[in-house]
Amino acid sequence: MSSSLSRRKLITTGLATAAGVSGLGVAAVLAQRYGLIPPDHGGIFGAGETLTYAAQRLLTSHHSLAREFNRSEISKVAFVNGKPPQNEEYQRHVAGGFADWRLTIEGLVAHPTSFSLADLKRFPSRSQITHQACEEGWSFIAEWIGVPLSTVLNFVGVSAQAKYVVYRSFDGFWWDSIDMPDAWHPQTFLAYGMNGGELSVDHGAPVRMKVARQLGYKSVKYISHLTVTDSMKNIGDGQGSPSPAAGYSWYAGI
C-alpha cells in the first residue's frame, strides 16, 4: 500500500510541478502581451507589484469610475503638500497669469503640439468631484475642472504602439507616467480649475495631472511636458517614475 501511495504521490507531484512551471510560463507571456507587467517589476518587491498591477488591471475596466461625490461633500480644507517650483521662470509665469506658459506633447503622436492655457480651455471642459488621497494617509475631496487627457490625445493623434504617457512638471523635478488604460480613462484630467475657480499655485497652477483611480502622488502638479512612448526603458531609471527608487510603487491604485 505504501509503495502505491508513494508512486501516486510522485506522479501527482510531477504533474503538479510541470503544470505549475508551464502555467507560470504561459502567464508570463500573456501578462507581457496584455500589458500586465509594470515598469517596476524587478527587484525583491517586483513580484508583489506585478501581482497588484496585473490583478487591478484585470479587475478594473477602462470605464470603471473612481467614486464621485456631491458638491456638499467637498472638503473645506484642501491640504497642501509640497512647494511650488522655486525658480524665477515660474514666478514670472505666476506674475503674468501663465499667458506665456506652454504644455508640449511629443513622442508617438501624429502632431507634436504646444498648447497654451487658453488652447486647453478651448477644449470642452469637464469636472469631477473626487478624492485626492495621499499614500501618507490624509485625504480631501475636491472638484477638479479641466480637459480629459483623452481629448488632448485624440487631438494630437496617438500611435497604436503607445504604451505610456510620461508627464513632467515645470521644474523637471517631478515626473511620472501612466499606462494607456489610465491615459484614456475619462477621469484622467489635465486639470486647470478646482472647486469652481482657477487652480491655485499651491495646488499646481496652471495645470496638474489628475489621475482619479490612483493615489495622490500620481497627480503631479505644474505639468508642462507630455511624452507618449512605447517603452519606459530609456526614460529615467526605466522604472516608470522616480517613485520606485524612493520605495513607492509606480502603480498607485492601492
Binding site: T60, R67, C134, A212, I254
Partner: protein, 278 residues
C-alpha cells in the same frame, strides 16, 4: 498506523506538579525545566510506549501555511507601522487631514522622509499577497478536508455554561492542558481561531482594499459599507491591533501550554517526540 490513545501525564503536567514551573518569572522561562524533566522521563518510561507519543497533531498543509502566515503577518505589521507613522492620526468618514478634526490622535510621532516608509509600502503589498494567497489555500483546503468542521467548529456540548466556565476557570488558574486536552482545541480556542480566520482576516483584507481608489471604482460597496475611505483606514488599524493582540495571547498560551511540545507539534506535526533525538 495504530495509534494508542492512552492517558499519561504530560511532561509539562509533571513539571507543573513538582512546582518547577511556578518559580519561573515568565512563561517561556520554564523551558529549560521542562526539557530537563523530559529527558529524565524519556530515559525511564517513554521508550516502552513510544507509539503513544507518535500522534499526528497538525497536517502538513496547516503547518506550512501557519509558518508562511507567521512570516507574512510579521512583515505586514512592521510595514504597517512604517506606513502609519507617516500620518498617525485616525479619522471617521470619507476624508481627513491635518487641519480637520480627527477621531484619534495616536501618541506617535509623524515620521516622514525616512527610507523605511516607501519600501514599507512595497513590503506591505508583497506580504499582503503572500498572506491572502496562503490564507486562501488554507481556507479552501480546510473546507475540502473538513478541517474546520472536525477541529474548529465547537460541538453542541461545548456551548453549555458548564464547559465554557470550566475552560475559563482553567485559563484563569493557568492550568495546563492534559495530554488528552492538547490533542484538540477547547471551546475558547475554537471560537478565537474561527473569528481570526473568518472575521478578522477578511475584515483586514476588505478594509485594506477599501482604501484602493482603483478597486473601489469597481466595488464601491466595500468602502461605502464602512462609511468612507478614512473610516475603512481606521477600522483597518483597529483590526490589525486586534490581530496583534491575538498573536501576543497566542504566543503566551503556547508558552503556558508547553512551548516545546506546542512548537514541536506545529513544526513536525507530532504531538510529542516518539524517541529521544540521539
Amino acid at each position: 498506523m495504530d495509534r494508542l490513545r492512552t492517558r499519561r501525564p504530560t511532561l509539562d503536567e509533571r513539571a507543573y506538579r513538582t512546582g518547577s514551573l511556578l518559580s519561573a518569572a515568565s512563561p517561556c522561562a520554564k523551558f529549560p525545566a521542562t526539557a530537563m524533566a523530559e529527558s529524565a522521563y524519556l530515559s525511564g518510561v517513554a521508550i516502552q510506549n513510544s507509539e503513544v507519543l507518535d500522534s499526528q497533531r497538525h497536517s502538513v498543509l496547516v503547518r506550512v501555511t501557519h509558518w508562511i502566515q507567521t512570516l507574512s503577518f510579521i512583515a505586514l505589521v512592521l510595514s504597517g507601522i512604517a506606513i502609519l507613522l507617516a500620518h498617525p492620526r485616525l479619522y471617521w468618514g470619507e476624508t481627513g487631514a491635518v487641519g480637520t478634526p480627527s477621531l484619534i490622535d495616536l501618541p506617535l510621532p509623524f515620521v516622514l522622509d525616512v527610507p523605511i516608509r516607501g519600501p514599507g509600502r512595497y513590503l506591505h503589498f508583497l506580504s499582503a499577497w503572500v498572506f491572502v494567497l496562503t490564507g486562501l489555500l488554507y481556507v479552501l483546503s480546510g473546507f475540502f478536508t473538513r478541517h474546520f468542521q472536525k477541529n474548529l467548529v465547537p460541538s453542541k456540548t461545548d456551548f453549555g455554561w458548564k464547559p465554557i466556565l470550566r475552560v475559563v476557570s482553567n485559563h484563569a488558574r493557568l492550568k495546563r492542558p492534559s495530554e488528552e486536552e492538547s490533542r484538540s482545541y477547547n471551546v475558547l480556542q475554537r471560537l478565537t481561531y474561527l473569528s481570526v480566520i473568518f472575521l478578522l482576516s477578511p475584515l483586514i483584507i476588505i478594509t485594506g482594499l477599501a482604501m484602493s481608489p482603483a478597486v473601489t471604482s469597481v466595488f464601491p460597496v466595500i468602502v461605502n459599507v464602512f462609511g468612507g475611505q478614512q473610516s475603512a483606514r481606521t477600522i483597518h488599524f483597529f483590526v490589525s491591533v486586534a490581530l496583534v493582540l491575538f498573536l501576543l495571547v497566542h504566543i503566551a498560551m503556547v508558552c503556558l501550554a508547553g512551548f516545546k511540545n506546542r512548537m514541536r507539534a506545529m513544526i513536525t506535526g507530532r504531538n510529542a517526540a516518539g524517541k529521544e533525538p540521539s
